[in-house]
Symmetry: D2
């Protein structure tokens, strides 16, 4: 077994090489002035099982094409089994045809990855709520969660007097529920109405418990519009300290302003970001060890 990483996730591959004590193979990647990318696998892979690590973040199409180039080349070089560890999996929102004629991007990307030679996929907090991963992929897929490690980080580093856990919308319930298992605290799920790409309204039918602090939990922060509206809602209810916990800190432009409503942001390093407190390499390592 050997490990290598694409240009989004070298540092994760290197940590895994240390944690799992398996050989790290450098991949030379470049971008030419015309935007084409170059990929070279700098090590022996023939007859080896290979773990490839690549988050599909920031420039998802560049990352995806690079991952395909790596996997196809591994197969040509006679690698045995390819395990793709994709900490952040892009294109999960377009999992169905909402309007006639739309590309169902998620299915196409899933099929592309299967075609590229990947035998098994491991990902973290996959943004799915209408469909199950197994319905989308023909190859085995393992959807790990960062919620346990994130809750452990919080429990170790913060003290609360009267805490509430909050999911900003129905979709977030699966993450909030997992996160809440490690807390002795109630959680509530708010109701979100979407008014376009960036605007949302947040409300709640439930009576809010009198709380001093709230942790808002979600899988992804992109523009941060949902988290901002949630913060405004909670501040209006008299909550003083706000924490945002998200697995994937995509941090699109404008997000930082929206996040300024929070006292602290806690995230993983699935994507390079300044709030990374939990290492996805450790989540993956736990999974591998359980499996062996």
């Amino acid at each position: 077994m050997k490990i290598l990483g694409g240009s989004n996730s070298y540092y994760i591959a290197k940590q895994l090489s240390d944690l799992l004590n398996i050989k790290y193979i450098p991949v030379e990647t470049r971008k030419f002035p015309d935007g084409e990318i170059y990929v070279r696998i700098d090590g022996e892979v023939s007859k080896e099982d290979i773990i490839v690590v690549q988050s599909l973040a920031k420039h998802p199409n560049d990352s995806l094409v690079e991952l395909i180039f790596i996997c196809r080349t591994l197969k040509e070089l006679n690698a045995s089994r390819i395990y793709a560890f994709i900490p952040y999996f892009a294109y999960a929102r377009q999992d169905t045809r909402f309007k006639q004629g739309e590309a169902v991007s998620l299915d196409i990307v899933a099929n592309l990855l299967e075609w590229s030679g990947i035998d098994e996929i491991i990902t973290i907090d996959f943004h799915l709520h209408r469909r199950k991963p197994e319905e989308i992929f023909k190859i085995p897929i393992h959807n790990l969660s960062a919620m346990r490690k994130l809750s452990e980080y919080i429990l170790k580093n913060y003290r609360f007097s009267n805490l509430i856990l909050v999911g900003p919308d129905e979709e977030s319930e699966q993450w909030v529920k997992t996160f809440a298992k490690y807390f002795d605290t109630p959680y509530i799920i708010l109701e979100k109405t979407r008014l376009g790409d960036e605007n949302v309204i947040i409300k709640s039918e439930e009576e809010l418990h009198e709380a001093n602090e709230a942790i808002v939990i979600d899988d992804i922060v992109s523009t941060g519009g949902t988290l901002r509206e949630t913060a405004i809602f909670l501040r209006n209810k008299g909550i003083k300290k706000l924490y945002a916990v998200v697995t994937h800190a995509l941090l699109a432009p404008a997000s930082e302003y929206n996040l300024s409503y929070y006292n602290e942001i806690i995230s993983t390093d699935s994507i390079v970001n300044p709030y990374a407190k939990v290492k996805v390499a450790e989540i993956f390592t736990d999974f591998i060890r359980r499996r062996l």
Copy 2:
């Protein structure tokens, strides 16, 4: 038969719709703040033959993924035969494994396009010199040339007293030869030695004819390094007026300075650029008419 275009080549698709008198179907394309793209085909395609137009230029991975999304969706919507007109075909340089472990990008991209459901490919002045298109693709591929239209444009719009046609290197001979057919003028091929990604040396063993004007012909201008060195070489030989003729004006940063050694640049509109004098839609139309 209907026609549609990706975000790089709408204008070509629309011209073709007029020239060939076939229905144009708009494609809605967007880019989300996180870099993901959205594709929607806004018209009936079931049981129709479809021409899809998309140059793989500027951001080749975005363009490629968009083309794949379009073609896979066309197939899901029961389109019949898909003809992909790809005026500029990217990734042609990496047509072999120069160093151990390299991705042979061209083969992977070719296979990807076949996998996406394309039945036939039409392209223009494909940058191949070691291999033939038929060796790379399993589906039919038609490699048209802009050289005739480019030469017609020059013959119609310029007068020369003592002209020479020049190819900057061995690879360019195929284009120079085609271009020269329409001229009553000799041509020479120079010798290029590459010293890295951007630096080249140009020389010639042949005695240069005493000429006042030179037209330098190539398929692609990317950084323009080769064209600049060729211009310096020709200026040193006493040639006064220099014209550059290229099919594909990629114009990477720095290229404009390198092209300032030329009096004029003449190109096609395979990629949006300020030197477009020949419409690739007309070249494609001629091909379709010959075929019917």
Copy 3:
């Protein structure tokens, strides 16, 4: 007098050098892997009046910093008077403080350009409707219009049976009025209500004349949302053929789909785009000749 162009507008500078018969000085521009830019003026400028051409389009901050680097360096190299020809002037929308704390970008950019050493600015169809250019700049500024050349192009190349000229909103009236002078045709101005960055509603109090064709006139097309809604409104009124005439074709992503509601788009080459029919170099040349 000599002329040079920044990386957005080399081709315009070169055309002007021919049209005005003044010497062209190449500018070497590059972008390093870390995103920094490099500028070198490759010719004698001491004691010369200089025309600098640079549109502030596509990547407005890169274009602006490059223009500042060029002008400051010209002054250090003892150039005399600097005339900046800025075919497309960015940041014109933010000409006031709509909300407390906002940067009034237009004023800051104007002051920056003055500070950079520019003595006089010439631009085309400056997107201003609340303020006059002279209120913003302390240096002389000349706001030329492409509307005459655009109307001449239309009159020469198209025939209409029953035409109406249309401005999509109040702001466009200044351009429609100028354009309409050369036509023997009525014009109407529609009413636009903005519902966010991209969504607008178009309506009209006036009775629409029964027309077969409409030319919609505006200064800029960015996302094309306004033009799309205008087209839908006009189609609903029974108009068959739609033409869009815009000076500046910014063509942000998604614009091409929105423009697909039009039969044809006619624009200038102030920004590189596939619909350029009118050369801004000719508009500038007319201005210079009138002035001499």
Copy 4:
């Protein structure tokens, strides 16, 4: 005194607000589809001294224009003194005119920042070796160093048997010397010859001490070409474990492959990167406390 941060450095501003116990003012920043940026200062600044934090990294021109927009607006809103904390200062390489006609970018950027209303600049490990900061700026400038905190991090977290400290070239000596103060270990400075933008040769006249581990120290890693050649040189001398310590991890494409020659990379968070172990907010806080 209040603090705010530009879009590159929000997280640093927020840490400083906690460390120094001064009020944090959010700045709303956005990028429009046409590439223009928007800036709004969301809080009272009149008659207040303000610390503005912004690294000029990743997209240096966007970052620079944003910083100018912020500072000019602060002055318009009657802020008192502006302290700009610029953890990473771009454009330091072009500190002189190497070739006739070049823009001396550093001087222009320095003058721009003075013009924008900044009263005092604080930066970290400014990449200067030919000139002193005081020769470039008319306003006070404080050049702090991360080398002490970086050495403390290393001393606390690693054990070495036979260590050598290495500077890859003459320019690096100032950083290596500072770093070495905290170690009881010799250091050597290698000799670098540059062969173009990306290629360098590393050698040494000195006899290398027999060492098992080497820490290579530099201020910036951009493409990583220098660090790679240094690693190859050191591996050839028999050194087993290699550590790279750099203040500013710019990490241009291709850098990650070049860094794969190292066992570990240790950096600061002056730019968001996966190797950040030292917080620049703490370095700045120490400076402020010494000063009060």
